[in-house]
Symmetry: C2
Subunit: 252 residues, 2 copies
């Protein structure tokens, strides 16, 4: 262990690079984002999911691959004893690799707000693969990004205290869907407490307590029930994963 090891991992240092990071990232990813969207638009079919509606992973119009156009989709799995886990969040631009996930018992998708996705079923995926072989590289890089997100999330739910997890959650949302500004970020926020709690592997009551604490401390503030403002610095100070998340997002 060298001393600069911990230093390079401190939230403060990573935070200095935030402005250029978050803003630059959007530009650099524009290319692959657009390519993915035009790919999905060409071969996929648009589907709507109403707010709070859950659809069994293989129910209804099954799809193998989906691109989220708007809204946030949750992948959930239900276990015996009323236990449920939200496995990941799909934000606009994210790809859903439904064929793997869907085979699990108790797996469902749930919409936060009104969700629109472009879905490819087995057949249209094969078509796409034949006609646009180059697209596979794009899908692979999306899968890789997804793998990393899942890994970081595992670390969060496995090793962080409840308030650290909550800070990680808001930081993640801020990085993924907010309009970033210098000190704060604001975004629409319609997730239910149960869903947040299940995403962070904690109890709804405990979550509520932590959120109240954050509100008291001014880390987050609600302008109305569906819109939140978060403070970059305060959040980063409260999660050990801040450096990793910011660094990762800068490079993506």
């Amino acid at each position: 262990m060298m001393s600069d090891d911990t230093a390079s991992r401190s939230p403060g240092k990573a935070l200095e690079r935030l402005d250029s990071a978050v803003i630059g990232q959007r530009a650099s990813n524009q290319l692959s984002d657009e390519a993915l969207q035009s790919f999905a638009a060409q071969y996929g079919t648009e589907m709507q999911i109403a707010p709070d509606r859950a659809l069994p992973a293989y129910g209804g119009q099954g799809f193998r691959l989906g691109l989220v156009k708007s809204g946030i989709l949750l992948a959930t799995i239900e276990l015996p004893n009323d236990r449920r886990q939200v496995l990941c969040l799909y934000c606009p631009g994210n790809l859903i690799f439904a064929d793997a996930f869907a085979r699990n018992e108790g797996a469902k998708f749930k919409a936060v707000g009104e969700v629109t996705i472009l879905g490819l079923n087995d057949q249209s995926f094969c078509n796409a693969q034949a006609q646009a072989p180059g697209a596979l590289a794009m899908l692979l890089s999306e899968a890789t990004r997804h793998i990393n997100d899942l890994m970081l999330h595992s670390a969060a739910i496995g090793r962080l205290r409840s308030e650290e997890r909550l800070a990680t959650f808001f930081l993640e949302l801020a990085l993924r869907i907010a309009q970033p500004a210098r000190d704060a970020a604001s975004f629409e926020f319609r997730m239910r407490r149960d869903d947040i709690a299940d995403y962070l592997s904690m109890n709804r009551d405990t979550l509520s307590r932590s959120m109240s604490q954050f509100r008291r401390d001014g880390v987050i503030s609600f302008v109305n029930p569906n819109f939140v403002i978060v403070q970059w610095k305060a959040l980063s100070d409260r999660t050990p994963l801040a450096a990793a998340m910011l660094e990762w997002h800068r490079n993506t």
Copy 2:
């Protein structure tokens, strides 16, 4: 909730299909396994990692993609306060998507036993991609499998009690690396307590207690420190994820 919902998820029912499942699965996957291996053998370079050696994800001879030939590799991430998380296990035949994982702060790979991998760096990956474009589909399907494993593991560490997690762990190992037999499975087992504990997001002491309990109950038994025998039924009864894991493995 329909009554057959819980029934179809019960370990017992899934267990009935185990024999044909585990044995059939090996055969059906033989094809893509072989393809993946010949692909990696052609474009990758062989690397050895000594037992218990950790290598920083981007240190030494960096690789972007790796196929595990023998041994087990752990992806780990270190957090402040001596917290560490083992994010996933790579068993022989598994692909390592190192380019995503490697960018994280504190990320390392650690070898369990002697590990051999076939690594592709950026350049050889580009070569491979140009010369064998069909291989991408194979990589994508491996990535998809990996995504599912990570999701199930998230559910395990997020929502299961410590003994349930341990049962899940042994069941996972048995499915992935054991020579299956009717009632029991046996396999080489060299992972350290610290690594298991960090994989399951629990304390080493707690893990030790749970393992002692399993030994007392005859769920697992050691023939020597490096070789273990596990009982299918006893394990399945102790984890709510048994059905999902068996079902998934049967279809893979």
